[in-house]
Symmetry: C2
Subunit: 375 residues, 2 copies
Amino acid sequence: MDLEDNVFMLPGPVKIHPRILRVMSKPSVAHRSPEFTEVIGDIRDLLKYMFDSDNDVALISGSGTAGMDMAISNLFGKDDKVLNITNGKFGERFGELSEMYSNSVALDFPWGKPPNLEDVAAELEKGDFKGVTLCHNETSTGLTNPAPEIGALAKKHDALFVMDGITSIGGLDVKLDEWGVDVALMGSQKCLGAPAGISALSVSERAMEESYDDASYYLNLKKHVTKMREKSQTPWTPAVPLLPALRESLLMLKEEGLLNRIGRIAKLGQATRAAVKALGIDLFPEREYASNTVNAMLYPEGIDDSFRDILKKKHNVIVGGAQAHIKGKVFRIGTMGVCTFTDLMACFGGIESTLKEMGHEFEEGAGTGAIVEYM
Amino acid sequence: MDLEDNVFMLPGPVKIHPRILRVMSKPSVAHRSPEFTEVIGDIRDLLKYMFDSDNDVALISGSGTAGMDMAISNLFGKDDKVLNITNGKFGERFGELSEMYSNSVALDFPWGKPPNLEDVAAELEKGDFKGVTLCHNETSTGLTNPAPEIGALAKKHDALFVMDGITSIGGLDVKLDEWGVDVALMGSQKCLGAPAGISALSVSERAMEESYDDASYYLNLKKHVTKMREKSQTPWTPAVPLLPALRESLLMLKEEGLLNRIGRIAKLGQATRAAVKALGIDLFPEREYASNTVNAMLYPEGIDDSFRDILKKKHNVIVGGAQAHIKGKVFRIGTMGVCTFTDLMACFGGIESTLKEMGHEFEEGAGTGAIVEYM
């Protein structure tokens, strides 16, 4: 058994389909050639399908953090007030970025709880905010934030709404235009199941107008959007092999259909929650806000993080741990991209076996049985 | 015939060896796992071998421009004077970056000519420069700049020396420690023949000390160096599939041996110049400064840039054009990485045939004959 036999259930990177892996191994191609410009043009059109918006797109050779940096550094300068709503690690990352580049006001809520909308409204009432940031789906806590409500508040106060959709767009129901999102972000290794290394932004006209020309060289928003719109190119040499892979993953999304994909992922997320409930394991976030792309669970009494080591070593099942103050107390399961019910069954086979070995009591087959009900 | 049949002779990206292509198509792996940490640790050690220096390294998921941005934005602030020595497109890019982030003083020399060292010395005499930038090997003009002399001048004036070695390190004779280079850059798709998308810096202790903590979030120099040194990791999710590919390309360099590689590339560069000379084609840069990794040639009388289209369409041979004011007047041939004498023969077979078709007069077989002499 080696890495290639893993049942890979992280909340990103996620399983990569063999169709996607195969297209990476092509010989060199000139990145400004007509052949490669066609790849990038296809990606632009397919990203708009994924974002479900006609807004312009920026294609970045860099991780999701590069996309977040581009959004914050290009939109907000030292004199611009930005409201950072945080209740997890990735919301906090927007806060750190805003601290560095702009005038950040952070509203921190407990991890696993939704933001208090009245507090958000009250803070915005103080006036003068150029922007509001939100991580739509907090990968760190398995919580989906109330983006439509935050978007409405940002709109009311005429602030730009910047939304991290890295583990929501293409996996959860997202309505960028309806919610008034000015900049939304995706990352290649999450809901698309493509390799890590690419991020993309959906950018409103207003965001283009209000972005600074000289804030960043490599991560220049206007240059990325303009080159993409006018020439189907990127301003700098892209991470060449990752782009045919990204296109293939987007084609697979389109073949399945965005709504079908979202519906299938919803069932996988619900099945995961049904399975852990049947095993007597509690969710970390408030149930009402639990995410369908990432579920975060509290370890039951007597089980510690060595659970993940046993699961990996004995059963080749890879699930996520947690970070910061919930490290060691929480484990996470991703159900994005081309994850299937049979993957989930394999995963819970390993989980049941490991829990039993570690002395947790439950009815054998209860977890996998709950999944079968959804299949 | 399709892209996979190309004789690929660009000055980067260059031909990728099948060994390197094959390792990209692995299933997902967690980028913080012990298995992947080992990949990054190997890369760190092998990069030091390539840089031929024990200085720390930063591994960046982003193109060479990302590496240039990291160097300039982290080392030089708005109040820091930086001398940008330029005689080509990539030297000018350092100038643009320094304009954006610092107080740039540009010394522009004609493309294809070496910088006048007396002018450089005189400018530095004016005092107060925190840094000096140089593109060691100007890919745009096929010229190798006198880096040791510039390094000595920077040292004399106690300025940080930042050198773009993107098409020199691992292909030409480079002595970072001896020349006093504080930050040197490489790009994956050049002398290593790995896929595009990764760059790396070699960073002196002084550069670490004098860099700013809060200049850039995604491209933070200190975070990259520290994570690499202490944990064999990158601060953010890397472009995962590109790293096993980079490691494989570095292993191939080590197997060949750095000095052997540089010697072989020197012969390929010389053979290219012998071949074009035999065909009655002039070099663009001053012959004494001609680069062994990239040769740039002036089109002879009566030949225009449609030469490259015919070469590609009829013979599947891909060579580079030129940019800016020399566009259409110059073509370029790269001989980096795993380029071989047989590749060069195939390339010049196409070139001779195309030149003949376009009416250029020369003795048939003169170019390829000149190459055979070197083989």
